[in-house]
Amino acid sequence: MTNIPVNAVDVSNLTVKFGDFIAVKNISFSVEKGEIFGFLGANGAGKTTTIRVLCGLLLPTSGKVKVSDVTYDQGIEAIKAKVGYMSQKFTLYNDLSIQENFAFTASLRKIPSDTLKRRTKELLDFIGFSKPMNTLVRDLPGGIKQQVSLAASILHDPEIIFLDEPTAGVTPVARARFWALIKQLAKDGKTIFVTTHYMDEAEQCGRIALMRTGEIIALDGPENLKKTTFPDPIIELNPKGTIPSELIEQLRNNKAVDSIDSYGMKYHLIMKDSQEWNRLSIEIAPFFVIRQIPPSLEDVFIRLVEGVTR
């Protein structure tokens, strides 16, 4: 194996249509080998659709896709062999045991039984699974189910692992545990392609692609995304007591203010002009505790993905 830096995923001008509906619009991006690549976007943005194309489950309407040096020209089987896919839906059979689920997946992929045995042990050690192998999947707690599902999807030891909302609906502890596994896999040289709705998870990605209605509207590392989206600091306004109801509306229309959004009890304000803002901040000082805060990914997400639709 030579160490030529090739991309794990290359997508250029990918478009996917369902009838007249365009689910993915002419997107292009690359994922480096060994990267944790995050896919963010509101519901229906086209994340799953993109992943299904990359896993050989859906043909692109147009555009080119290269996964682990394999293109669609070489057939979908070739792609399927290279990738591990953990679907957004829970795909293990609840009425089968872990052993049976693994054996079934392995047999469809023609994994020899000694390899299966070795991989099963490796993977169960990896996820720290200690229950008997003949436990029915149905009897596992949600977090463990997700981990077993991850293990099943990488039985064939793929180079790229696609995880579509792998932590949806599990406890925060289980989420943290799952992300520890993701990081371990990346450390072992696997490429991880993951979608999530959790910002704390997105923070842990090497790079993030933000998707909105089929398009990638931003793509960068978490810190860069924050910097480019918010060149100026975010100002947090913490109300001291009840504030006059028209005050927020007045602020929003003020020429010093670019935008103001509520965050729980507080408000996040983006200024337009620092001189004007300095004057305004003195005026509203009686009503708020004012401080500058670093932008979070959530701010970025709201500004880029949701802000535009306002």
Binding site: Y85, Y93, L108
Partner: protein, 374 residues
């Protein structure tokens, strides 16, 4: 494309499906209870012995042989002989007036023919309007015919008496002998259509279809794999019905059991494919099951000739039933079971069944392929 077909993978699917079957109370219950229940329901309806059946006898021969024949009827305990009041018309008017359920007409040459050619005829008229009684009476006739042959000739080898039955009011009536072989049709149809209708829909509903899709498994492998265990269940159910028919109801199996098995298998495949097609099209278990119930139960019960004779249906319906596999297998099942029909007698039904099976399985596979292939 077929080059990619891998039998091992199909077997993996079959094995997995077998786990589902063994662990799903619904499937297990259906597979075991349903055939037994159907046999019981229809079987009990049959087993009520009808006795003291009024039989008008018009004996124009009045010979030793003709009296022997009448004696066979009277000594059978089933029939009460009403002697004809002289006219052959009585034989029919008694049926109309419901004085008798059946009439036996013996022509003057009865004994003469028997002695001359070793072969003779008597006429048995049966009121087919009362379906269930007529069915039972018909059931007795086979035995009576044998007894008569024995009494008249002292041998069982030849069959010098031909008991040709003409049904006056209901030409294709149901009898226990008709019902039990017909049960094979109903049992296969309901069981296999219902069970397979769930199997593909279940994968869609559970999300496990995504798992199948992400592996190199081929649609045809999935279809074949899923068919295997249900074929076994279906054949076991047929075997059960056949055993009940032979051992429980004493119906002799007249034909070739292998041919019957082949017919059952083709019919079974048609039904499995029909269920599969429903499942592939509908994708939800609930609706699939309802559609399977309707399209499985109704044709096999009502339009196959099982309960209502096809001949008495409007022409349009008669033609329509030809697209139903259950009609063809009904003919095959009764033909082989009761009449000992062989392949040459059943050419048309076999061809019809084979064509319908092929159409169904090809349609199901094609549609499924289209859904699965990106």
């Amino acid at each position: 494309m077929n080059l990619k077909f891998n039998f091992k993978r199909a077997l993996s699917i079959a094995k997995k499906e077998q786990f589902h079957i063994m662990r799903d109370p619904f499937t297990l219950t259906m597979a075991t209870i349903l055939p037994v229940l159907l046999v019981l329901i229809f079987g009990l309806a049959i087993e009520f012995n009808v006795k003291d059946i009024g039989l008008t006898v018009h004996d124009s021969d009045r010979t030793f042989s003709s009296r022997k024949l009448v004696e066979v009827f009277s000594s059978s305990q089933y029939f009460n002989i009403n002697p004809s009041r002289g006219s052959i018309i009585d034989a029919i008017s008694d049926l109309d007036s419901e004085r008798s359920k059946a009439s036996l007409i013996i022509e003057p040459e009865f004994e003469h023919n028997l002695l001359a050619s070793g072969n003779t005829k008597a006429q048995f008229l049966l009121d087919g309007a009362d379906n269930s009684t007529a069915g039972v009476i018909l059931g007795y006739l086979g035995g009576i015919q044998k007894a008569a042959n024995f009494k008249l000739t002292g041998t069982l080898v030849k069959e010098p008496i031909e008991l040709k039955t003409r049904y006056l009011f209901n030409p294709e009536l149901s009898s226990p002998w008709f019902i039990v072989p017909g049960l094979a049709v109903v049992v296969i149809a309901i069981l296999s259509i219902l069970l397979t209708a769930l199997t593909v829909a279940r994968e869609w509903e559970n999300g496990s279809m995504e798992l199948l899709l992400s592996t190199p498994v081929q649609p045809l492998e999935i279809i074949i794999g899923k068919l295997i265990p249900y074929t076994v269940i279906g054949l076991a159910a047929v075997l059960l019905v056949v055993l009940v028919a032979i051992l429980g109801f004493g119906i002799p199996f007249a034909g070739n059991i292998i041919l019957f098995g082949v017919g059952s298998l083709i019919f079974l495949i048609a039904c499995l494919a029909q269920g599969m097609l429903i499942s592939v099209l509908i994708r939800t278990q609930q609706l699939s099951m309802q559609i399977a119930m309707v399209t499985g139960l109704l044709p096999s019960l009502l339009l196959s000739g099982f309960i209502f004779p096809l001949e008495s249906m409007p022409k349009f319906f008669q033609n329509f039933t030809s697209i139903l596999p259950s009609k063809w297998f009904m003919i095959i099942s009764r033909g082989i079971f009761l009449k000992g029909a062989d392949l040459s007698d059943l050419k048309l039904p076999f061809i019809g069944l084979f064509i319908l099976s092929s159409i169904l399985i090809i349609t199901a596979t094609k549609k499924f392929k289209k859904d699965l292939e990106p």
